[in-house]
Amino acid sequence: MSDKPKDPMDAFRDLVGQWERGVNQIANQAMGNEQFSRAMHGLSSAAFSARAGVGEAMEKYLATVNLPSRADIVAIGERLQAIESHLARLTELVALVAGANAPAAANAASKPKRTRQPPQKAGGPS
């Protein structure tokens, strides 16, 4: 018999654990059948239709009040993305040129030596 003192909360914790396992198991069984998939995607489909309708109406409204739509903002985002990519490549090129001109010894000095060996007790590749 264990000498560990009994915690009055233990029974409650066991109960919560059992409840969690039980509900997860039942839910997984329920969600694993074809009917669930059909029902879930039926609801999703309705939501997509509603979303598309609201989106179209909103776009018309924004055009009426002379405000940019989501598509306009996305288009700006795409252009910014392209600029960002160009900048990244330019920065890289500048760094390459600067690296080529910098003394190799100065670069090497700031980095740790790549000479580490594994501990002796470790075996070789199997």
Binding site: M9, V23, N28, S37, G42, R116, P119
Partner: protein, 356 residues
């Protein structure tokens, strides 16, 4: 000698004390901010769109010759591997003398909805490999992929047999998508109109990704809240709970085309397993990978069942290949007390001798 069992009065006093603490700490909990994560010092080597390449600062005088590039899953933030000092896979590797880089992801912008698997394995990962090689002066690189980061790493390695990773490490990486039974049912081709969803949303919202993970264990969130209340007097427990809770809730959206391609090619077609997956006009055949491979899988992984992950080591072409099944779940395999004592030392032992 065994300590005498505390009497009822002592027990009662302890429970009353904890009840009071629950009230006080509960109020503190509600009012406190999110815990800081990803604190290990690093430089951002490259940032382009959704891609981020970090280089962590070395913590030892000398490092292994072969650097390590961690490829994070596209659904979640990389800080799960750098949660907090003392609970950080990255910090562990640095202290063991590895030169660590991480390819992490930010939320793809609406303008990046057209990203495909090709962008990840023929552009982002190769660019990061090039930057790692440039930064270290070494051609050899160990790639470590977590979950779908592992899938991308396997595809990348299959397409770069000559200039790919020197060593490949995968954590909980699915190959046989037909064995992901619940995800299979939820993406049933007869009912799931992936085209309509992607065309409607652009990028797949993080709420949908989060909900699909939560639905795998629908009672666990409620149970975890009860456990939190039970332990809220314990500062260490609360700190750890908040770190993981923050990460679990911090799901990323997925680029629309990437999701469409993953659904059609992998979930429906199971083409990674059958070697019919074509990326950039080239067939992906992971059985041709010859680099040493370690695959760590979790015994109780509810997201990637073992049957989905098993064919990787069974079929891969490498002669030097190891599969380790460790106790734990999808997340506790790589982070937390379980990982500290099981996976991390095992990985260090495997990787150290292959990093010289």
């Amino acid at each position: 000698m065994n300590a005498p069992a505390p009497n009822v009065a002592e027990r009662l006093r302890l429970e009353v004390e904890r009840a009071i603490q629950r009230g006080v700490k509960g109020v503190e909990y509600l009012g406190s901010g999110a815990p800081a994560v990803g604190l290990t010092s690093k430089d951002t080597l490259a940032a382009r769109g959704t891609m981020r390449l970090y280089h962590y600062h070395s913590q030892t005088d000398d490092v292994y010759r072969v650097p390590v590039l961690i490829v994070m899953a596209t659904t979640n933030r990389g800080y799960i591997l750098d949660l907090a000092p003392g609970n950080s896979f990255v910090e562990f590797l640095l202290k063991r003398g590895y030169d660590v880089f991480m390819l992490d992801w930010t939320a793809p912008s609406p303008a990046e909805k057209g990203l495909r698997i090709e962008d990840y394995v023929l552009d982002f990962i190769p660019e990061c490999m090039r930057r790692v090689r440039q930064e270290t002066g070494e051609q050899d690189v160990t790639v470590v992929g977590y979950c779908f980061g592992g899938v991308l790493s396997v595809i990348y390695s299959s397409l770069h047999l000559d200039d790919g990773p020197t060593n490949l490490v995968c954590f909980t990486t699915p190959v046989d998508f037909s064995k992901m039974t619940l995800f299979q049912n939820w993406s049933d081709q007869r009912y799931f109109d992936v085209d309509r969803m992607v065309d409607s949303f652009g990028n797949v919202p993080p709420e949908m990704i989060f909900a699909s993970f939560e639905m795998l264990r629908p009672a666990s969130r409620a149970a975890s809240q009860v456990t939190l209340w039970d332990n809220i007097w314990n500062d260490e427990f609360v700190r750890s709970f908040r770190l993981y809770d923050r990460w679990a809730n911090d799901t990323l959206p997925l680029a629309g085309e990437y999701f469409r391609q993953t659904t059609k090619e992998l979930m429906w077609g199971n083409k990674l397993l059958s070697h019919e997956l074509e990326i950039g006009g080239r067939r992906v055949d992971y059985t041709k990978i010859k680099a040493p491979v370690l695959h760590a899988v979790a015994e109780h992984d509810h997201i990637i069942p073992y049957d989905a992950a098993r064919p990787l080591i069974a079929n891969i072409g490498s002669k030097d290949k190891t599969e380790v099944m460790l106790k734990g779940g999808h997340v506790s395999l790589v982070a937390g007390a379980n990982a500290v004592k099981r996976l991390w030392p095992k990985l260090d032992e495997w990787m150290g001798v292959r990093s010289i």
